[in-house]
Symmetry: C2
Subunit: 369 residues, 2 copies
Amino acid sequence: MRLLIGQTGAPTSVVNASLRGFLDGAQGHDVLALRGGPDGLVDGRFTPATLADVPPEWTRRGGSWLGAGRRAVTDDDLDAAVATLAAHRVDGVALIGGNGTMALLAALTERAERAGLPLCTVGIPKTVDNDLVGVDHCPGFGSAARYLATVVPDLARDHAAMRSIEPVRIVETLGRSVGWLALAATRHRDDPAHAPHLVLLPEVPFDSAEFLHRVSDTLDAHGRAFVVTSEGAARELTDEPFDAVNHTRILTGGVSRRLAALVTAELGVVARGEVLGMVQRSAAALASGVDRREAAEAGRCAARLLAEKATGLMVGLHRTGTDPYAAGYDPVPLADVAGRTRPVPPEWRTTDPAELDEFHRWLAPLVTE
Amino acid sequence: MRLLIGQTGAPTSVVNASLRGFLDGAQGHDVLALRGGPDGLVDGRFTPATLADVPPEWTRRGGSWLGAGRRAVTDDDLDAAVATLAAHRVDGVALIGGNGTMALLAALTERAERAGLPLCTVGIPKTVDNDLVGVDHCPGFGSAARYLATVVPDLARDHAAMRSIEPVRIVETLGRSVGWLALAATRHRDDPAHAPHLVLLPEVPFDSAEFLHRVSDTLDAHGRAFVVTSEGAARELTDEPFDAVNHTRILTGGVSRRLAALVTAELGVVARGEVLGMVQRSAAALASGVDRREAAEAGRCAARLLAEKATGLMVGLHRTGTDPYAAGYDPVPLADVAGRTRPVPPEWRTTDPAELDEFHRWLAPLVTE
């Protein structure tokens, strides 16, 4: 078979592990690499690739060997992509990505079928946001979570030392519509004062009076308040767009700075807002080993599914054991995943990190190593 | 002797190594810990401390076991501090800090002498900014530099993958008045397009037209431009204060966002400004091993100097060998250091990372391990 492997959306620390996993699983088949994300799909930037072409050290790096990118794909784009796939006699396409990618792949599946092109399609899950349905967690998330679980405790200790001039510090994680990464940033429980003291998620409506009250109480109790916020929490405070088509507009965050300004205006204390930024998705030196292995296995599974002529699927990632931790990869229908997002479940929707012990136990195997 | 050890200024990833080094070197003496930075010095927050009181795991953590902080110390504060030191019968004071701390220690030395209090004083150098005179480099700098040398290449690869929607990315390092950390962020030389493409230092006057011209040329050549800037570069674009007394006002950066807005306004391309923030000084998981050992040795030397009744000195840190790398610790007079800053030397003042090979060789032993 002739298989095409590509990536759309943004890189993660382990996306190149998925690529190498796929190329490993696809050995014996003819593989083309789609370079440059959705633009490359539409324009037909396909070049032959084997495992030997992707240096193993790329699995220890941020970024994406394939390139990546976003694009609001139109019907004309889909037609162009189908024609290009037909011209290259591609039998199967695997795309690494999140819910936008899975929607693109579902649309491509449907469009190819309508055009009479026999095409197998399999999605390889990837998102630091962890908002794909159909999986226990998503490749990419564990590494971003491990970065946060590593550096946020240090930021909290740094803040403890500097509280006399900066009583309130508010750090902002990725997560426009879901709070998984903000929750991961609360893993730290060994500080005497149990910072972070407060966490804000998009899933929990922001209550300005309650927020200020909690910050004020924390200041009274600990002489400082250390807050974690999702970039998408308290969206009424930001003027960034929330519904840019397919994330084609870059979002630079900033709600932490708005919250800090609110604290200073209302409570009269110095506050710092700090956006943690793109390093969360690219800091490969602090990537999770479990995440890297699962990302590779997800790639391998995708190649196997295409070789078996499966189509319209996304590789799953299911927790099959908790002690010891184990995962399985049974696929899920693309149609069940495409365009949907998975918020933090109700039992973990809280502003109080002390209520998150069960979440921290769930998270532990993904970030410990 | 009765010795007092404290820290003023902000923490670094290795400041607790200096503390443990001091407590190790001071064994056999009576040691008091000054908790809470300059406020603690003025208020007399002194408690007995031994090596056993500071858990070794604190040398693998951000923040400061002693606590830290900043304060614009007045003459009255100095009088109070001298009275408190006399009441506690302190024979020698070591303060870990940067040039503000050394100025405070010099003033305290002079004030004690005038009050007839026999007091020995030794400074232990500490600053991620690397702007202390009298040393080859400063404990703390190597770890912040290693963080940058590790994550900035990943950010550059992430940017390469996302260039279709975000052609310009500008990342901002610490360094209000000096560009040492921005230079460290250019260490990455293994990208095909040799990002970072451009670096902005406070030591090099900002030329808006030249900057835009260079960004535009880089876009033409590589399809993207990845820029590193010191927070203190292009200061005419910021409205943050530059001369807050003794850094007592928090500074949140943001020149990268101003530069990004300039690029978008003038070149019509999407640009992201990203402030790397406090994680540079606190991310102990990526701290430099050489830095940690040197920080500990600087602490040990300070204890030894006080035991020898030396006074008015700062522990030095001199490069005594390059192949293999080796360092020595001959002290320098506090008066030569106090309140001065050391900019990047003229030969490394450039906007072109390709001209920094000699700097990168100088940096290598401090960040490799």
